[in-house]
Symmetry: C2
């Protein structure tokens, strides 16, 4: 304690986009504060910034002469002690991170896609070269949930993680709920406001959230989860009608990432738009905020809430990791890194995961249809807890009506088989729409 080393550590910043420039701004504004708060032991200096295009206009006030375009410089330059990867993608980023680890330079990254897809190789390199890789910024922006799972809850068996961890989707669903917008209009609005990227694919197809959930699950259970085995659905198919019905039934539609360990040790992990009670605390997570509920066997239920993305919120986590990296370099400590176990985790097949459901059928508007559907469900042993139909149908004379059934807890595989039978009925005119009712 109070050991004052005046050595300044050189930071090499790969990427100067949203997050990279945020890191620059925070260090420029609060660098001295950090040195103060660490009793003089942490001095960080960004010595090189690598971008693609040297001619691009940059808001942040960094001197031209530290900019370059060759990522390899960060490895070669001996004045760079720590490499920060904020370029995104999984190709160049992989090569950079791997090279830094091999060169014994600690890495800080915010790249969840990279870690979810190539974490196995990178964590192995980190272990082999005894060089840490820090990634708090990869999950939920400013929210220190990685640290919570890895450090604060280390004495807990993690029973479940439930998160709203994609701000773009959350914003879109919120606008659809509040303003009755359709998906394309809400997406357009999110883009205009800068809440969705030019390419919104990974945000709205669920994979950005899934990548984060995979990382959290991997850390929680000490074993890397293969992203190809994970069930992921996005919000593109969510309709204003289902959002309206959700509201009428006391629910809210959220893109929910869920991780749960079952009694037999198997892990349930999935990301999909789901119905949650409008009264649950997660239902009030709006806009670009993120929240993750963590349940530990000792700690009980906790919730972490904050800005899930953005320049400085994400930069805040990168800077925290830089300070951590600096401390570890200072005293050469081992790092609370992640060394996944050899054996793969037992994932629960999606067919076996059971919840209650909301199912909407489009049916011919004639007597007996409900009875027909109810009969198929009854024969399959799928219990009905309620039904719902539009309180004020837009066109009362239409030939087809929407009919909602709320179903008791059923394994998803059995539900699918049963719904295939319902779909075969003459009176059912479209593929049924299914949402899980998530009891949190």
């Amino acid at each position: 304690m109070a050991s004052v080393s005046c050595k300044t550590l050189g930071i090499g910043l790969a990427g100067f986009g949203t997050v990279g420039s945020g890191v620059w701004n925070i260090l420029a504004r609060n660098g001295e504060l950090i040195t103060d708060r660490t009793h003089g032991s942490v001095n960080l200096e960004i010595r090189k910034v690598i971008v693609r295009d040297l001619n691009k206009f940059r808001e942040a006030d960094a001197p031209d002469e530290i900019f370059d375009t060759d990522l390899a410089l960060l490895i070669e330059d001996p004045s760079i002690d720590i490499v920060v990867e904020l370029i995104g993608g999984t190709q160049a980023a992989f090569h950079l991170v791997a090279a830094a680890l091999k060169a014994g330079k600690p890495v800080v990254t915010g790249n969840k896609a990279l870690l979810a897809e190539r974490g196995k190789e990178l964590f192995a390199l980190s272990a082999e070269h005894k060089t840490p890789i820090h990634f708090e910024a990869a999950v939920a922006g400013a929210i220190p949930v990685i640290k919570a799972v890895q450090e604060s809850f280390i004495g807990n068996r993690i029973e479940s993680l439930t998160g709203i961890i994609n701000g773009t989707s959350n914003y879109i669903l919120q606008r659809m709920t509040e303003a009755g917008l359709g998906y394309p209009e809400a997406l357009g609005e999110a883009k205009e406001l800068g809440y969705a990227e030019a390419d919104e694919t990974l945000d709205v197809n669920g994979w950005d959230a899934a990548h984060k959930a995979i990382l959290l699950a991997s850390l929680s259970y000490g074993t890397l989860i293969n992203y190809e085995d994970v069930y992921v659905r996005g919000i593109e198919m969510v309709t204003p009608l289902d959002i309206r019905f959700a509201k009428e039934l006391g629910y809210v539609v959220k893109l929910l990432s869920l991780v749960r360990q079952h009694e037999d040790g198997s892990i349930e992990i999935r990301t999909q738009p789901s119905f949650i009670s409008a009264k649950h605390i997660l239902a009030s997570v709006n806009g670009v905020f993120n929240a993750i509920a963590v349940k530990g066997d000792a700690a009980g239920e906790s919730l972490f809430y904050g800005r899930g993305a953005g320049q400085e919120p994400t930069g805040s986590s990168v800077v925290a990791d830089l300070v951590e990296a600096a401390r570890l370099m200072e005293h050469g400590g081992t790092h609370r890194g992640f060394l996944p176990a050899e054996e793969s985790p037992k994932l629960m097949p999606i067919e076996d995961t059971a919840t209650p459901y909301y199912v909407r059928f489009k049916v011919t508007d004639r007597p007996g249809v409900i009875a027909e559907i109810a009969t198929v469900l009854a024969e399959a042993g799928v219990g009905i807890s309620g039904t719902h139909s539009p309180s004020n149908p837009e066109d009362p004379d239409a030939d087809f009506v929407d009919m909602v059934f709320l179903l008791h807890k059923t394994p998803f595989g059995h539900l699918k088989e049963t719904l295939a039978q319902v779909e075969a009925l003459d009176s059912v005119t479209e593929r049924p729409v299914v949402f899980r009712l998530e009891k949190l």
Copy 2:
């Protein structure tokens, strides 16, 4: 990384009450999991337990032979590497912690009273003997808010901390709100359910929450705040009438701890029952749960929510600190301890802290009274944003009525002077009741 040391660290546990036995249970149940999760590097064994009464029945299944009554044994016994202080109080606990630090044995404690009142001496000893003192369990049970402030938000200027950090008070206020109970009945209920201690003084007089806020503020601003300078009010004087009026006005009464740094660097710190909007996320923190909103200049707004007390939730934080202590011992690293700056912080005098207010007057029921009060307020330049009177007064023929004024933002000192003038009016029969309207 992946360095496997098989050394087992000996833990000396002072106190085997609520939290001490929780620590025992967690290590008994999850000790192996911890070793697994730390790749074999952390093995913890409780080797001695110190209590007052050896004959007391203990639920937790710890062997008799490790129990003793002499705290000094934890210092003398060379098989004890880390001392856990969970006896409470500030006398024996101070001597134990000081002795452990002097002997170079890292300390883990959950004792906020000790740190708030004698932290200065203890942190100095910690620095002098290069021996860490860990205290995550001292604030908000299972919620890792100390780590958040000290580590995750290290790159942030902490703009404010707002917390509901005493579960007992929160439970009592909730029951008063939900069930219309009076304070004594709600307290009685809390005691029956084990949510309030036999001696509830520190919980209901605000000091338990204040101790925690003082600790958080001290860590945030790198300087120890003198507890005698802090404004603290408890919930004993909160009446069902004010709770009812709060509800009618769209507010909820919460025991709120607030820390805020102003532009001039001065720190506002106070704990008192306050009105907050019923729609704010903190308003839905119920029962024995705690929540702390932290606002950093980079991270923006975050919220940490969880179990604020109790056997295993608090034990969970103690165990996390034990693992941290073990890691630091393993590689001899400096610790992210707390070395307060020499100079005292500039606290904002309570008279200067300004908010809007709810003020309830008991007045003679005759025409002209409102005008009289309003005139005094107007002459003092205190703006009125609204008035409120009972929607259905219990006794419509009473000589006195309750009259609520909602006042614009005013420094507390000026409000007090102004209210003294109002109180001097003949028509005002009692000392006015004041609550702050906290805009969060």
